[in-house]
C-alpha cells in the first residue's frame, strides 16, 4: 500500500496542516473515499487534529445559537431618531412609487 503511494509520488502520511484542510472541507461536503480514510487514520493517532475538528463543530454551533439569540433580542433597537428619519424617507417615496 505504501509502495503504491510512493509510486504515485504522494507522501505516505499527510501532515496536520493538510489534514486540517480536509477536516475543514468535510464540514461543507462529504470527503472522497480515499481522503476520508486518510483523515480517519490520522485522527486515530493525532489528538491535536481531533481537538481541531471538535473546535470547528463547536464553533459552528456556538456562532449559530448566539447569533440567533441576538436576532431575537428585543433590547437591540434602532435609535428613535433613526426610525423617524427612515420612515420619513419611506413616506416621501411612497408617493413616487405610485404611478
Amino acid at each position: 500500500m505504501n509502495k503504491n503511494k510512493q509510486a504515485m509520488g504522494r507522501p505516505v502520511m499527510r501532515s496536520c496542516k493538510e489534514i486540517s484542510k480536509l477536516v475543514s472541507s468535510s464540514l461543507d461536503r462529504p470527503l472522497p473515499f480515499r481522503e476520508k480514510i486518510e483523515v480517519w487514520m490520522h485522527l486515530k493517532m493525532c489528538r491535536l487534529c481531533n481537538a481541531f475538528g471538535r473546535d470547528l463543530l463547536r464553533l459552528r454551533t456556538l456562532a449559530r445559537h448566539r447569533i440567533t439569540e441576538k436576532e431575537n433580542d428585543p433590547s437591540i433597537q434602532m435609535e428613535p431618531d433613526a426610525k423617524i428619519r427612515v420612515q420619513s424617507t419611506v413616506n416621501r417615496n411612497v408617493g413616487r412609487a405610485d404611478s
Binding site: K17, C49, R58, I76, Q77, M78, A82, K83, Q87, N93
Partner: protein, 194 residues
C-alpha cells in the same frame, strides 16, 4: 374588477419601520455588528421594496418578503465591500496558516495549548465580546464566508455566487476563517481567565 385588492395594496409602507424596523435591524447587527450599516441597509431595503412593490406576489408574508430583500442587500454589501481585497492566495504573500503550522506541517507549539483546551466551556456572557473581537480581526471576505456558511447554512455553490469566488477559493476562505476564529477565541478567552 372593482373590489379586488392587488397584492401590492396589502403592503403597508407607512408602518414598515414600526412593524419591521427593529427586526431587520437586529438581523444585520447580529451578523455585521455595525449599527450605522444596519440602519443604512434597513433604509435601502424599504426603498428597494417600494421601488419593486409590484413584484410582491403575496405568496409569502410582507415580513418574509422584506427580509428576503434585506438578506440580498446584506450579501451584496459583503461582496462589494470585499471585492477590492486580495484573496491572500497568491504565492507572493505568506500563507496565513504558517502561524499555526511549522515547515513540516505540524501544529506549532504555541498553538497546541489552545487546541487542547476545549471550546465547549466558553459560556454565554463570555462568548460575545470575544467573538466580536475575533470576527473584527478577519478580512471581510473570510468573515462574510463564515457567516453565510456557518450561521445561515447557505450551500457552498450559493456562497460562491454571493461572494463571486470559485469553490476552491471559498474552501480556502472558510478554512482560514474557521482556524483563525477557533484559535483567537480560545486564546482570548484563556487570557481572560487569568
Amino acid at each position: 374588477m372593482t373590489g379586488t385588492v392587488t397584492h401590492e395594496q396589502r403592503l403597508n409602507p407607512e408602518k414598515w419601520v414600526e412593524d419591521y424596523g427593529d427586526l431587520l435591524f437586529r438581523y444585520v447587527v447580529s451578523r455585521m455588528r455595525d449599527r450605522e450599516l444596519a440602519e443604512e441597509l434597513v433604509q435601502q431595503t424599504f426603498l428597494a421594496a417600494l421601488a419593486n412593490r409590484q413584484q410582491y406576489t403575496g405568496a409569502g408574508s410582507e415580513k418574509g418578503w422584506l427580509m428576503s430583500i434585506l438578506k440580498r442587500k446584506m450579501i451584496d454589501h459583503v461582496r462589494l465591500q470585499s471585492r477590492t481585497q486580495p484573496l491572500e492566495v497568491d504565492e507572493v504573500s505568506p500563507d496565513p496558516m504558517d502561524q499555526f503550522f511549522d515547515r513540516r506541517g505540524r501544529w506549532r507549539q504555541n498553538v497546541r495549548d489552545a487546541l487542547l483546551h476545549p471550546l465547549d466551556s466558553i459560556d454565554r456572557e463570555e462568548f460575545w465580546p470575544v467573538f466580536e473581537k475575533c470576527m473584527a480581526g478577519l478580512p471581510d471576505k473570510q468573515a462574510g464566508a463564515f457567516m453565510l456558511r456557518e450561521v445561515d447554512d447557505r450551500k457552498t455553490e450559493q456562497i460562491c455566487k454571493d461572494l463571486d469566488v470559485s469553490p476552491s477559493n471559498l474552501w480556502v476562505l472558510l478554512h482560514r476563517a474557521r482556524t483563525r476564529l477557533a484559535n483567537c477565541m480560545k486564546t482570548r478567552w484563556l487570557h481572560e481567565q487569568e
